[in-house]
Amino acid sequence: MSTGNLVEVDNVTFGYDQRAVLRQISLNIPKGKVVAIMGLSGCGKTTLLRLIGGSVRPQHGEVRVAGQIVNELSPDQLYLLRRKMGMLFQFGALFTDISSFENVAFQIREHTDLPEALIRDLALMKLQAVGLRGASQLMPSELSGGMARRVALARSIALDPMLMLYDEPFAGLDPISLGVIGQLIRRLNESLGATSIIVTHDVAEALQIVDYVYFMSEGVVIAQGTAGEIRASGEAFVHQFVHGEVDGPVAFDYPARALREDMLTAEAA
């Protein structure tokens, strides 16, 4: 196995019930890079993230993180590996019954025996990194969507992970928060010396901050390249996606019977 990749997805097939979500997909995430996985909703990109995090296991193939085969780890080994991973969920998934500070301190308290004073300093430093040290005593319900996302980000970097997973980090944010989150992802990746995987369909924002892009459609990688290569791509699907065109390889109409036929049956009924 090559040493340059932190994550390797090798020939992975996965499906829920009978519906195949991923079909023999392979991709590599080089160490230290910020990589985006893009595609339409439901193309299997979140599933890919769950496979890398070990929440689901592939039916065929292998997922390797830092040389360990994720799908063959015992629950204890998986938990050990996860201590070195951070994940930002789509809507933050903050614990709603404790304050921002306690959310950030949660993992430190669970996994270390550090004295309270040190935990306080660490958690405040993480909040400072996302610019929300002043909001440490607020409850999640008192935070705006963008602030909640930043607190969740601070929580996910609490133990200085080597791998950051972002599930739709830009979804539902105003333009300013969106820019802030984008910059934070990039900056934290540098300062932590981590590797980041961003699953998103927000093309404009993602292309500004990522090193490499994988495009997925119907469970396979259909295009890949640097941000510049993707922007200039001649592939019809990528072009439609990047430029947000209404019609193209992805049709506007959901498959249906002929319109005339549908209208006539409705009248008859």
């Binding site: 995090g53 929440s55 938990y79 050990l80 996860r82 201590r83 991973m85 994940m87 969920f89 789509q90 809507f91 998934a93 903050l94 614990f95 709603t96 949660f106 993992q107 669970e110 996994h111 969740a152 996910s156 997973l165």
Partner: protein, 265 residues
Amino acid sequence: MMMQRISELLRQLGAYFTGMIWRLGFAARFFILILKHSGTSFRRFHLTVREMYFTGVQSLIIIVVSGLFVGMVLGLQGYDTLVRYGSSEALGVLVALSLVRELGPVVAGLLFASRAGSAITAEIGLMKATEQLDAMEMMAVDPIARVVAPRFWAGVISMPLLAALFSAMGIFGGYLVGVRMIGVDEGSFWSQMQSAVDFDEDILNGVIKSFVFGIAITWIAVFEGYDAPPTAEGVSGATTRTVVTSSLSVLALDFVLTALMFRGN
């Protein structure tokens, strides 16, 4: 056509029952998982104490008030019946035995199911729906050890205490109505109660009942929450099921336990 309908009906019935048995299997495995991951609940007992505040302490008002009223009604009804046989001094015995043996554990159990059980299901279900449980797992913290087990043990510990309090309040209510209002002799009210209520036979059996109900109710509540579909209607359905299933379980278990404990002799 007719045959087809019948076979379709049979198939649905079969699917319904196999579905139920599957769920029962999941619930049983879930119960074993809770027991296996209970270490945290006791090593870090403050986690359990915190949940006892939500399930136990916050149920106090409903338990105390209901206990008082049930006892007062028992006092009125009991006196009305006993006085026909000229044995109204036995009112204390009647009130105490009804409460300690039956009404305390059962009514407290039903109230606990609807007050605390529903809250546990809704909370865990919503934590699941908002990905908080997934987030916890990704942080290498087991939600069963950290979220489910402390709530389970908090419920199991709280329930006998609440039932005991319910009985105590009920006896006090019976005393208020019987002795203070109606004028039954205070000395015989208490002394007859003291000599007729047996510690092992009555009080201990009542405590065992409330303990068993506590296990059943909180088990159902945490399972329904953890198993709830992560949507608004999924959580609301699970909450309803918790109240219905655990109330029925309390009544059914009460019959079984009573049959085992008292056997009509």
